[in-house]
């Protein structure tokens, strides 16, 4: 194991290690975070949901957005896959359809950071998907 020889070493190491635990730390505090659920059933995965999820995670991290990204089963909008549900604290969930990795970046930029709806991506339902 590499030795930590100074305070600077420790800080460096800590920063490198923190990202992994961030996921857990955020989990302690889900209410104050934006929750993103990516539908990952066969239909979703086939249409590229996995890449969408990666993109959302990476882009949110880059922009330091407090977000919890999880996967979920089929939401029943197989025609609009990949679908993503976003729940902002205190707001009703919104489901977006036809998300590609490019659109995912846009989703992060516009909806997650700002509060803008996305062009070309129609919110398919305003109800909670779990029911």
């Amino acid at each position: 194991m590499e030795k930590i020889k100074s305070l600077a070493d420790l800080k460096k190491k800590r920063e490198a290690l923190q990202s992994n635990l961030k996921l857990r730390e955020q989990g302690e505090n889900t209410e104050s975070l934006i929750q993103v659920k990516v539908a990952m059933a066969t239909c979703g995965i086939a249409s590229g949901a996995k890449q969408v999820m990666e993109t959302i995670i990476n882009e949110s991290n880059k922009r330091h957005i407090p977000v919890v990204v999880t996967q979920t089963g089929c939401m029943g909008y197989c025609y609009a896959e990949p679908t993503v549900e976003v729940t902002k604290p205190g707001q009703d969930p919104v489901v977006f359809g036809y998300i590609t990795p490019q659109k995912a970046e846009e989703l992060v930029d516009k909806y997650l950071v700002g509060n803008e709806m996305l062009d070309g991506v129609i919110p398919v339902n305003y109800e909670k998907v779990e029911q």
Partner: protein
């Protein structure tokens, strides 16, 4: 390259471990690998989550789903449903006892709502066997800053101002203790962590060591720097194999990373930590006895002064603190004494970890701010009394403590209030008793413990406690007299007043406290020869209610001494002279026809 999207935290505390949490971890890892998800899902064994009643616990992150009473065979479903399909497995969620609804998130459980985790901040959160996770949680940053400031007295001052008091029982101000040890000059000094948690029904320290060993190591190093010691020793019970294993791993990792050993963070400060094993003697929780035990001697306490800070391990100045006390240190350094002292009551700052057990719905390990009321602990965190029975008393402080009754339900819990209420903080055992518990028998239980654990050095503890126990035995057998009750009281006071160490000075507390609060129960045993709780064997008789008995004969077959007679299909009868009161019949009777009177 792994890019984890899910973390599955499996509780690895002794309680959950005992219910195969290691197998759960193995199964999860295997299934995840089978599904090719090993780079997306991380399975981690953590320290205790605290909610032992519901163990084994598996927590899913980032969505913070809290699965309870998980069995190894549930693992496949957890992976396939929760991870792959993103559906919560409802049957493994916690059910709120009030409204019978499933609660997925631990934050919404009554058990966790009022808790504040400082000493347990990393328990159930990080992998205790991985130093990197500790570092990621600001681990060793407190040590780094202390070394950078390079002013031991200033650091001691921070601890002093924080108001932290020893969590082992006595409640001595920690900063003051450090200061005394720092001021005694010697070539060699020692820092000792007391991990000889012997209080029956308490497992706070063990949980910290199992869940967050590095916090203790870091605090010991800080302590060493402050008092001028370069050697630390952890005196740990040999009965804690898991804690020992995790500590050894932690020490090794810290040494390999250079966070223990020579010239830590490039400073002049060097610090090593070794383990010393206890061997099953409760009295070794007393610091002088602990030191003798570490020296390979019988664990007999010696008169103080000299205090360990003057003459301790190998006759050198030694600072002894317990595990929980240490676990608070790094946070205090990082967040400041102002933050810490803003929590708690006027004279008791911060939080306290308690092992909540007994006749309570939510058995487990809790950490609450000082000043919380007993009511909140019992009825909110604890979820009330088991089987809807009536709360009778809460025993705190273990064999050194006493019972708190209903009238103290709204007393804020802190060091001084507990003493005023006739009990004490102790190391943190909280045992809840209900209407079925006989308080005379409870004090006999504690005395039996003390008698067994007395070192035998001083007369009042060696013979006095034995006599107390014998008196209680006599009373629970229905042979006690009013004079015995007088002797019980007066002898208890003398034992407290004259014993050599804390063990003897507190051992009569359970007796005095129950006499104070449950005098009528003592009287009932003595005057009426009755045990109101129906617990004392000699004072109860098993009687068959003829109206309820259908004469099935089940009790006859199970009675080990053939004390039950009766014709088939006719009400049976128990011969009281033969009955050994084993209770076998009552368990067998399907018609509730056997009563205890």
């Amino acid at each position: 390259m792994a890019n984890y999207k899910y973390h599955m935290l499996v509780c690895g505390g002794t309680g959950c471990f005992a219910s195969q949490s290691d197998q759960i971890k193995k199964n999860l890892a295997q299934i995840i690998e089978e599904k090719g998800l090993q780079n997306e899902v991380q399975v981690v064994i953590t320290g205790c989550f605290g909610f032992c009643e519901q163990g084994p616990i598996v927590k899913m992150l980032p969505d913070n789903t809290f699965y309870v009473r998980v069995k190894p065979e549930d693992c496949r479903e957890l992976v396939e449903e929760h991870i792959i399909k993103g559906r919560k497995v409802n049957r493994l969620l916690y059910t709120d006892p009030e409204n019978k609804e499933h609660v997925a998130d631990s934050k919404h459980m009554e058990f966790y709502k009022k808790q504040l985790r400082i000493a347990l901040r990393n328990c159930g959160f990080i992998d205790p066997e991985n130093i990197n996770e500790y570092i990621a949680r600001d681990g060793y940053a407190a040590l780094a800053s202390v070394l950078e400031i390079n002013n031991p007295l200033a650091t001691i001052d921070v601890i002093k101002k924080s108001g932290l008091r020893g969590r082992g029982g006595g409640g001595f101000p920690t900063g003051l203790k450090w200061e005394i040890a720092a001021k005694n000059h010697a070539d060699q000094k020692y820092v000792v962590c007391n991990a000889d948690e012997g209080d029956p029904g308490a497992f706070m320290d063990r949980s910290i060591l199992e869940g967050d060993p590095h916090s203790v190591l870091e605090a010991m190093a800080i302590n060493g720097f402050c008092i001028g010691a370069n050697k630390g020793l952890i005196y740990i019970r040999a009965e804690y194999p898991l804690a020992i294993e995790r500590l050894l791993i932690a020490i090794k990792q810290a040494e390999e990373t250079g966070l223990l050993g020579k010239n830590i963070f490039g400073s002049d400060f060097s610090f090593d930590i070794e383990l010393r094993y206890g061997a099953g003697a409760f009295v070794c929780g007393e610091e002088t006895a602990l030191i003798h035990s570490m020296e390979g001697e019988r664990g007999e306490p010696t008169f103080k002064p000299p205090f360990p800070a003057q003459e301790g391990y190998l006759k050198m100045p030694t600072n002894v603190n317990n595990v929980e006390t240490y676990a608070n240190i790094p946070v205090i350094i990082l967040k400041g004494w102002e933050w810490f002292s803003s929590i708690g009551t006027e004279k008791s700052k911060g939080t306290k970890v308690f092992a909540l057990a007994g006749k309570i719905n939510n058995v487990g390990l809790i950490e609450v701010p000082m000043g919380i009321t007993l009511r909140e602990v019992v009825y909110e965190i604890g979820g009330g009394i088991k089987d809807g029975k009536k709360f009778k008393a809460m025993q705190t402080g273990g064999p050194s403590g006493g019972c708190l009754t209903e009238k103290f339900l709204d007393t804020p819990i802190d060091y001084d209030n507990l003493i005023e209420a006739g009990s004490m903080m102790g190391s943190g055992g909280m045992i809840v008793m209900d209407e079925d518990d006989c308080m005379v028998a409870v004090s006999k239980f504690y005395l039996e413990f003390t008698v067994e654990e007395s070192c035998g050095k001083c007369t009042p503890c060696r013979i006095g406690n034995k006599r107390l126990y014998e008196l209680l035995e006599k009373i629970t057998e229905g042979k006690g007299t009013m004079e015995d009750l007088d002797i019980l009281k007066s002898l208890s006071k003398v034992i407290k007043d004259t014993s050599l160490c804390g063990l003897g000075q507190t051992s009569p507390n359970p007796v005095l406290s129950t006499i104070d609060n449950f005098w009528d129960e003592y009287l009932a045993h003595v005057m009426e020869k009755k045990c109101p709780a129906g617990q004392c064997k000699a004072l109860k008789s098993y009687i068959i209610e003829p109206d309820l008995c259908i004469g099935c004969g089940a009790c006859v077959r199970v009675c080990p001494v053939n004390a039950i007679k009766g014709e088939k299909k006719m009400p049976h009868e128990i011969n009281q002279a033969d009955c050994i009161k084993c209770g076998a019949c009552i368990e067998k009777c399907k018609f509730n026809a056997i009563l205890i009177k």
